[in-house]
Subunit: 248 residues, 2 copies
DNA sequence: CGGCTTTATGCGTGTTTGTGCGGTATTGTG
DNA sequence: CACAATACCGCACAAACACGCATAAAGCCG
């Protein structure tokens, strides 16, 4: 087995399970521990995973929990500013949840006049600070993990609205595989959000670029705007330079 | 389980609950007490949490500690304890918003198995900490003042459910005028909540007793339980000693 | 081809890390 | 003060790791 094949296999395992144990990989790939260790080290140097004693963890898993405190906050504020440039007075906007979106909401101009639909209670609470914004919280089952409402009831209600713009946080974005996720229900939800909206903007910190998870939400051609903290001409974004996608 | 995963798991617990007990974590993560203690120590050294005898507290506990600025908190905790005595495993419960209700939710037994409908995002977020509780957030317009959802859409959805118990915070309760309020929409909302439920409990700190506001929600005979921080035989409650109303 | 370097891998040895256990000290509470 | 719960300390041990070295395959070049 070639080194590259092994690396791919390891990355697949990681994206699938969010974690790998060195000992499991030894068995799976039938090579020595040292080899696996060297593999993980290399991949870690390339920032493709996060190495820990005993194995490795997915980067996206990583940042979804404790990082949201300080680490990526600056990046998220940059993203927020860019996203806000898409929002005009009088628009009807649908948002998902996640720290990136909440950061954006906090940066909105004081006197914005708009209508927001959201599936995230946190977003609703933040939006309540804006006197001229109408907030509609879409109700349904409340997800303990994602802290958004989900399930059939939410999907039904989404099918009754047609917002001008949908703002989505992301688990992963890949040039070929598009938008992907790990949770089936959230996956359905994102699909519906995307379909019911006239346009969709994806807010995505750069370290989630190039990653592909188990479940496919939508091809990249279904998205109109990609917002990252990088400048639009950054080489990391080269793979996303296609006609239908505007990069901010 | 990798150490880092354990740390993430602990941090998630803390961010949700604002506190963790060492003994709970031992069970949850199936490792020895020493290991948990070392974990907490490490996280404390990294300033990710605040270690105390018996467990740890969220660093931002101060922010939720500022709900010590919540008025009459001690009284509300007493009320909470009494209200919980009404809740049995398997019940379907509808709650309103307000600090009293939120305080109650925080005091719920760890392993409660129940279904909660709520119009308050805050309540939903708190309830999400309980693994065996199903949370349904009723969606609709989001009120900037009361921080609950309201309006026709909420009323419609309420008419489709029939919970065993409705828990209501109160603006005012009067022996003759019953439950009253000042806001027209919230008034409609409370009426509907009361009507759709099999039984209703009113959570009310004593100083709101004997007050009557502009808009009438319901006569006192429509309420089954009155919960205050006072003992049931307190003279202040004499006026409420009627057959249909049980005072806790 | 033969000699040379480069790259990838495995093995042996000593080190570090993570975890549990037993015993003892400390803390909180009635 | 007594008692239980919790914390701390040192030790033991296995698992994971780092490093140097040996080996072998692959690549390169005159």
């Amino acid at each position: 087995m070639l080194k590259k094949e092994r690396h791919d296999s390891i990355m697949r395992q990681i994206n699938l399970h969010n974690r790998v144990l060195t000992s499991d990989l030894v068995q799976l790939l039938s090579v020595s521990e040292d080899t696996i260790r060297r593999d993980l080290q290399e991949l870690a140097e390339r920032d493709q995973l996060y190495k820990v004693h005993g194995g490795a963890l997915s980067k996206s898993y990583q940042s979804s929990f404790d990082d949201s405190t300080v680490y990526a906050k600056d990046a998220k504020i940059i993203i927020a500013k860019k996203a806000i440039s898409l929002i005009k007075d009088g628009m009807v906007i649908l948002t998902g949840g996640g720290t990136t979106i909440i950061e954006m909401v906090k940066q909105l101009p004081e006197n914005l006049h708009a209508t927001f639909f959201t599936i995230s209670p946190f977003v609703a609470i933040e939006l309540a600070n804006y006197p001229r914004v109408e907030v509609i919280l879409i109700g349904g089952l409340f997800s303990k993990n994602s802290q958004v409402t989900y399930g059939g009831h939410v999907i039904n209600q989404l099918s009754e609205i047609n917002p001008d713009l949908c703002l989505l946080g992301t688990s992963a974005l890949h040039p070929d595989d598009g938008l992907t996720d790990t949770d089936w229900e959230i996956n359905q939800l994102k699909k519906t959000m995307l379909n019911c909206s006239k346009k969709t903007a994806v807010l995505c910190i750069s370290e989630k670029l190039g990653i592909s998870l188990r479940l496919k939400v939508a091809p990249i051609t279904n998205i109109q705007y990609l917002i990252t903290e990088l400048p639009a001409n950054d080489p990391q974004l080269d793979d996303y330079q296609i006609k239908s996608l505007q990069i901010l």
